[in-house]
């Protein structure tokens, strides 16, 4: 049995990638099992998805803690999520990056492969420029780097993609052709035993939600033209998650780090003085560094 773990962010297609890999393995005559782990189902939030592939029905229904292959859809996750946790000896880390494998920092010595899936997705017009959908390019690279599925099967699985099947098939072939294998740059980190965090009596959070840095979830951001603002406070009232505060004279101020870009404030503002603008490159873009 072979176990693959995908790490991505909501909106990048990590979950669909796991489903496509399952379909592809099935086309190759294997018995697949794929499933996602959902924390927060929102654009930009870290997402994990799992795939097992075997020759017979799989007697396991748990998440994958000792993967043979780890696929990372965005390099930023290498710093924030312990992606290599449990990776088996002799396993493979596949990263979406334009850099050669030798420049990828990894906490354990591990065989590392890279592919510029973001570049491929942009070139093939998959997703938006701010959020390219990189999953099919990554699957092509995975087919080449691991041999767990054939490129034909990956291309065959793409009938399950909701849009642009031809471009996605081409992206898979591009990923297959472009993947580079090597060793990551080993930067050891200390591990600690698993313990529950100290908890208060009852599920109460220690900080208000406005302090959470959730701005990475958005693709649009609100801009207020204060000249037309009547200080009605509608935006403050309607923002579903405390991302607007009022300054001493009663004008609204967006908490940039917290706003998720839902656009409700803009829709509710009576004089229509809030505009949602593309938040291009606000945090260095997606998957590029």
């Amino acid at each position: 049995m072979l176990e693959v773990r995908f790490h991505g962010r909501g909106g990048q297609g990590a979950v669909l990638a796991s489903e496509l890999l399952a379909h592809a393995a099935f086309l190759d005559g294997k018995w697949p099992q794929s499933f996602p782990f959902f924390g927060v189902e929102r654009r930009g939030a870290p997402v994990t998805a799992y795939v097992r592939i075997d020759d017979r029905p799989i007697a396991l229904r748990t998440s994958i803690t000792v993967p043979d292959v780890v696929v990372v859809l965005e390099t930023g996750l290498l710093r924030t999520v312990p992606v290599t946790d449990g990776l088996r000896e002799g396993g493979l880390l596949l990263v979406n990056s334009a850099l050669p494998p030798e420049l990828i920092e990894v906490p354990i010595p591990v065989r590392t492969a890279t592919v510029d899936a973001t570049g491929i997705a942009r070139a093939r017009g998959l997703g938006s420029p701010t959020m390219p959908i990189v999953n099919t390019a990554m699957l092509g690279a995975l087919a080449r780097a691991t041999g767990v599925v054939s490129l034909d099967a990956v291309r065959g699985s793409i009938v399950h993609v909701p849009a642009k099947p031809r471009e996605n098939r081409e992206a898979a072939a591009d990923g297959f052709a472009a993947v580079r294998s090597g060793e990551g740059r080993h930067l050891p980190v200390a591990r600690r035993a698993e313990r529950a965090p100290p908890l208060p009596e009852g599920p109460i959070a220690a900080v208000p939600s406005s302090t959470l840095v959730t701005s990475s979830w958005r693709t649009l951001r609100p801009v207020i033209r204060l000249e037309k603002c009547t200080r009605c406070n509608f935006c403050w009232k309607y923002c579903p998650d405390d991302a607007i505060e009022l300054d001493p004279s009663g004008f609204p101020v967006i908490r940039e780090a917290h706003c998720k870009g839902c656009g409700i404030c803009a829709a509710e503002c009576p004089p229509k003085t809030i505009e949602m603008v593309l938040d291009a490159g606000a945090r260095g873009g997606w998957g590029v560094r």
Binding site: F35, F38, A59, R61, T62, S63, R195, A196, P203, I204
Partner: protein, 393 residues
């Protein structure tokens, strides 16, 4: 349609389509949403000529299919967690009105704290509403059980609603190969609903109206009797299903390697799959262990458990929920069923996998090890971690 790679939620939707349900009403809730989205697609494309009624809450969704069911329609709804809790009042109505509704439930933890993870507390807290309860282990079992549930629920000897539960994510969002039967096969197994004794527009009938205490007792007893007839009907229905599809999921209590076992663990849902793998490993190491899956929780398979207990020394019950009693929900039932049995093994209660925590092979091994060294009188929380330091709220 043959074998396809689909999710547990798609398995629910395909089963509803194959059952030719006539009225569907549901309210979306993660991780159930893709069930009703898929059904909505089937209705929109004309593959399923049903009425899809959009409502503003789960309470209304169940009320809607209850009304349609009272008029003789075959109905389907689906929900999860908080949505199921919101249905609670109507769940009692559906059973008391003898409406053979079939509902898919994705087992998800009950808040607070907010969680999307797998946990049986939602359905366990509905165990006394008069619904038949199935717990599935694979996507194939989900699809087949929904079809079985219609035959069983609509049987004139039963006429009770049934819920088919699947673990959040471990099934709902897991893609794996599933044999999708053809419409012809399902039509042979599941003919249109026999809609006798239901409301007829234009005729002055009332359902569920006021009664005095005498009639109340008689009606409650009718529901109890109907529930008691479930095992016999299920046996026949499963046999017929097997003749057509060549699949049988093992009755209400499905056992694995229990024949010469001295230690048996009772599980529900997807924990069973992982536990089966562990049983194979432990057997290979010389341990005489077995496994029993509670596939049906209501009516509780007490007979089958007593038969199993006759040859077993120690039993453990792994509950994927916490309920407020001395033992886990299923463990309490098992202990109750065995109290009057001629031979009584020890029964230990284990709680694990709450809120979507993984029930890993290591965890199941730990449970068997605990059982083999005598088990324990009080419930054991198998995956509780030591806390870092005391906190002050």
């Amino acid at each position: 349609m043959g074998r396809q790679v689909i999710s547990g939620n798609a398995a629910q939707a395909h089963a509803a389509r194959l059952a030719r349900v006539q009225v569907v009403s549901a309210y979306p809730i993660t991780p159930q949403t893709t069930i009703v989205e898929t059904i909505a697609d089937f209705v929109a494309s004309g593959e399923l000529p049903a009425q899809y009624v959009k409502v503003e809450s789960e309470h209304s969704a169940l009320q809607c299919v209850l009304s349609a069911s009272a008029l003789g329609a075959r109905t389907y709804t689906a929900t999860s967690s908080q949505g199921l809790l919101l249905m609670h009042e109507v769940l009692h109505w559906a059973a008391g009105m003898r409406a053979p509704i079939v509902m898919g439930v994705v087992n998800r933890a009950v808040a607070p704290p907010w969680s999307l993870g797998s946990d049986h507390a939602d359905t366990m807290s509905q165990r006394d509403t008069g619904w038949i309860q199935f717990y599935a282990e694979s996507n194939q079992e989900v699809l087949d059980t929904v079809l079985l549930a219609y035959r069983l629920a609509e049987d004139p000897a039963v006429r009770l609603p049934a819920m088919v539960a699947e673990d959040a994510f471990y099934l709902s969002h897991t893609f794996e190969p599933v044999e999708i039967p053809s419409a012809g096969e399902v039509d042979r197994f599941l003919p249109p609903r026999d809609a006798r004794a239901v409301l007829v527009p234009g005729r002055g009938l009332r359902l569920g109206s006021f009664t005095g205490p005498v009639e109340y007792v008689q009606f409650r007893r009718q529901v109890a009797d109907a529930m008691e007839r479930v095992p016999a009907v299920l046996r026949n229905v499963e046999r017929e299903f097997e003749e057509i599809t060549h699949r049988h999921h093992g009755g209400p209590l499905s056992t694995y390697r229990t024949d010469d076992a001295d230690t048996v663990l009772v599980t529900m849902g997807t924990a069973t799959t992982t536990a089966r793998g562990v049983v194979d490993q432990l057997r290979a190491e010389g341990h005489r262990v077995g496994l029993a899956k509670l596939r049906v929780f209501r009516p509780f398979p007490a007979e089958e458990l007593r038969a199993l207990a006759d040859s077993v020394g120690r039993m453990g019950v792994l509950d994927r929920s916490f309920t407020f009693g001395e033992h886990g929900a299923a463990a309490t039932e098992v202990r109750g069923a065995l109290y009057g049995a001629p031979r009584r093994p020890s029964v230990s209660s284990y709680l694990g996998g709450l809120g979507g925590r993984d029930i890993t092979p290591g965890l199941v091994r730990k449970v068997y090890r605990s059982l083999e060294s005598g088990g324990s009188e009080l419930p054991t929380w198998v995956d509780l971690l030591p806390e870092e330091a005391p906190a002050h709220g």
